[in-house]
Structure formats: structure tokens, C-alpha cells
């Protein structure tokens, strides 16, 4: 951390995609971004449909067992999300900056846990992870294409707590990367929801560290109960900081019962992300 990126007054970086668009008169740029966001949603929905109906079934035709096929689907999703982020940046809708992402690109297992300020957090995270197993929350449950895509990708359905923990532990034992959002849904306007303790249970059971990612978006866009056309006065600057990993068993706490260890670990995790947000959000 502590990397200072020079920004111009409007929060854009010279040479960044969309920088020239920011030179438009303010109202015109805003209207442009409302239209651009609508186009982005259409591209996302259309893309999800095409991938779910064509590309993902093709991924499942090739050799390998179910896990290998799902990994191919996950790789396609990774490329699609990478494209989508670049698309939104090019339209001048968002800026994205990652800090310390190298940490997540070494071979797994990785247990990535992030706060959830916006609709596109998972898109950002997966745009950096060629293989990632996600847990599908309520927000996806009533979206038919995404649900279909998620099932091709072998994502974990958010059912009973204990089953989800088991499924995540299995994936981690197979050296895979699992992405969790312990808030369970998008954050409130200020701060974060209380964290569910499932991620901590997964870390304890699998014996892998939690790798927190602090996601900040300023000014706020695509937040909970914020309509997509409510674009902020300037493009949303996303900063995604990969923070120091948290070992599930602190020194001298190895005999603590799981339920207590999970409580403490969850407090530590939330505090680490809150503090990380303070650092990335202030710049």
C-alpha cells in the first residue's frame, strides 16, 4: 500500500481509458454515462445469455471430468469480465485501480473475501482470477441467465450454512480459489453490513488464510437500492486493495472451539477490511 497515483482534478488519470471523454462538458458527460451504463447492462445481459447458451455448453463438451469442465467455464467468465471492465472504463463510466493483486495470482488455494459496495464487485475480482469458485447470493437467484451460467461454472449455491462451508472447503482442498462476500449482500450507503461467519468457518476448516480485498468506489455508483441510471457527478473510481492475509488460528488460540474462533476471526477480518478501506478510500 501507500502507492500514490497522480490524478487530475476530476479524478481521472492522464492516459487512462476514458480520459478524453472526461473533457466533455459536465452535463454532456453525465448523459453519456447514463447511456453508457444502459448499454453496459445490455451488453452484460446479452453476453451472459450467449455464453450460457453457447460457450459454456461447448466448454462442457471437451475432455476432462466435471471439475475440469467447470474450470474452462470459469476461465471464459474471467475473460468476459475482463472485457467488461475494460469496456466500462473505455466508455468513461469507471476507473479501476488494483493494489497488491500479485498476491492473488500465485498458485492457490486462495480464499478471497471482500466487502461489497457495488453491483460489479464480483466482476472486478474475477477479472483478475482465471479460476474462481463463487457462492451465488440472493441477488443472482432470480436472474435466469446468470443462474444458468453459474450452474455451468459449478458455482456454489447459497443454501444451508453448513453445506456451503463444506463445499467451499472441498474446493480449497483441491487448491482452487474461492471468492466470498461475507456481508451477504451489497453494503449499505455508509460502511458495511455485519459479516456472516461462514468465511471464517471455511478458513478454519480448510486451514487456509483469509485474503481480504478492500473495495472502495468513490463517488458511489451501482450501490444497493441505487438505480443504474443514477450516475455520480464523475466516474466511479474503484480501488481494490489486496490486504495482508489473516491466518485462521492466531498464535496460542489453537484449542479454541470453532464457533468462538470463527467469531473472533470474523471480527478481525471485518476490522482489517474497514481499516484497509480507510487507507484506499482516503486517496
Amino acid at each position: 500500500m501507500g502507492i500514490i497515483v497522480e490524478r487530475s482534478r476530476d479524478g481521472t488519470r492522464p492516459g487512462a481509458p476514458g480520459h478524453r471523454l472526461a473533457a466533455l462538458p459536465e452535463r454532456a458527460f453525465r448523459l453519456w454515462r447514463v447511456l453508457g451504463t444502459g448499454v453496459s447492462f445490455a451488453v452484460f445481459g446479452g453476453g451472459a445469455l450467449v455464453l450460457a447458451l453457447v460457450a459454456f455448453p461447448l466448454c462442457h463438451l471437451g475432455p476432462g471430468d466435471a471439475r475440469a469442465r467447470e474450470a474452462r467455464v470459469q476461465r471464459v467468465i474471467h475473460y468476459a469480465y475482463r472485457f467488461f471492465i475494460t469496456f466500462m472504463e473505455t466508455l468513461g463510466l469507471i476507473r479501476t485501480e488494483w493494489i497488491g493483486v500479485e498476491r492473488l495470482t500465485v498458485p492457490g488455494p486462495h480464499l478471497v473475501v471482500a466487502n461489497h459496495p457495488t453491483l460489479i464487485d464480483v466482476v472486478h475480482v474475477i477479472s483478475k482470477l482465471p479460476q474462481a469458485d463463487c457462492v451465488i447470493g440472493e441477488e443472482y437467484a432470480h436472474h435466469p441467465f446468470l443462474r444458468l451460467a453459474a450452474s455451468w461454472a459449478g458455482y456454489i449455491k447459497n443454501a444451508q450454512g453448513a453445506e456451503v462451508v463444506d463445499a467451499c472447503v472441498d474446493r480449497l482442498r483441491a487448491a482452487r480459489t474461492v471468492v466470498l462476500f461475507p456481508e451477504g449482500t451489497r453494503s449499505p450507503r455508509n460502511g458495511m453490513h455485519p459479516f456472516r461467519r461462514g468465511a471464517a468457518h471455511v478458513a478454519l476448516r480448510a486451514g487456509v488464510p483469509l485474503e481480504p480485498v478492500a473495495i472502495s468506489c468513490a463517488p458511489r455508483m451501482l450501490g444497493k437500492s441505487q438505480p443504474w441510471w443514477d450516475v455520480p457527478e464523475r466516474p466511479g473510481c474503484f480501488t481494490l486493495g489486496v490486504l495482508d492475509p489473516i491466518e485462521p488460528r492466531a498464535r496460542g488460540a489453537s484449542d479454541l472451539p470453532d464457533v468462538l474462533a470463527a467469531r473472533r476471526l470474523t471480527v478481525t477480518l471485518r476490522e482489517r477490511i474497514r481499516e484497509g478501506l480507510g487507507r484506499v478510500g482516503l486517496r
Partner: protein, 100 residues
């Protein structure tokens, strides 16, 4: 799904405990196992909303009570339990059935 046959659990089995004694055990388990503030753990506190128990905690609590009291609570009975009092009532009823 009948009473436990584990001999150690049987030593401390709840047969003959009053409703109040069982409630005291439930409250004690909540305070000790989950490090909850003693004043928050009252018979009418809601397990999920007030005491912040999740499904994994609930399983741990029930497992502990079962071991302590030598009983097995049926899963369908667990779904309706909202407060420590509900849990104590369920254990008390079960004890009555298993003694009969």
C-alpha cells in the same frame, strides 16, 4: 432417533431435571460457548436477531446440549426454536417423552 446410549452422557442425563434447571443450562452454554454478554443472554432473547447466532452456531449449541443431557433433538423440532426458553422447553418435553 431415541435417547443417547453413550454411557458418559447417560451419567449426566437430564431425566428428572426441572424446566428451570434445563433453562439455566441452556443460558450457561450460550454464555460460555459463544462469549456472549451475560446480560444479553436472557430466556426471551431471540437467538438469531439478538444473540447473533447463525446456523453453524445452532448446530454447535444443540450438539452440546445433546451430549450434556444424553438426548437427541429431532431436526424438524429445531426449526421452530427462536429463544433460549424455546430450546429449554423442547429439551424438557423430550425428557418427558423419553422417561415415559
Amino acid at each position: 432417533m431415541s435417547g443417547s446410549v453413550d454411557p458418559e452422557a447417560g451419567m449426566r442425563r437430564s431425566v428428572g431435571m426441572t424446566r428451570e434447571e434445563i433453562l439455566a443450562r441452556v443460558l450457561e452454554a450460550l454464555r460460555n460457548d459463544f462469549e456472549l454478554a451475560a446480560e444479553a443472554v436472557v430466556p426471551t432473547a431471540r437467538l438469531v436477531e439478538d444473540l447473533d447466532l447463525d446456523s453453524i452456531d445452532a448446530v454447535a449449541l444443540v450438539t452440546r446440549l445433546e451430549q450434556e443431557m444424553g438426548l437427541v433433538l429431532k431436526e424438524e423440532r429445531l426449526l421452530g426454536l427462536r429463544t433460549p426458553q424455546d430450546v429449554a422447553d423442547a429439551v424438557f418435553e423430550l425428557q418427558g417423552q423419553q422417561r415415559a
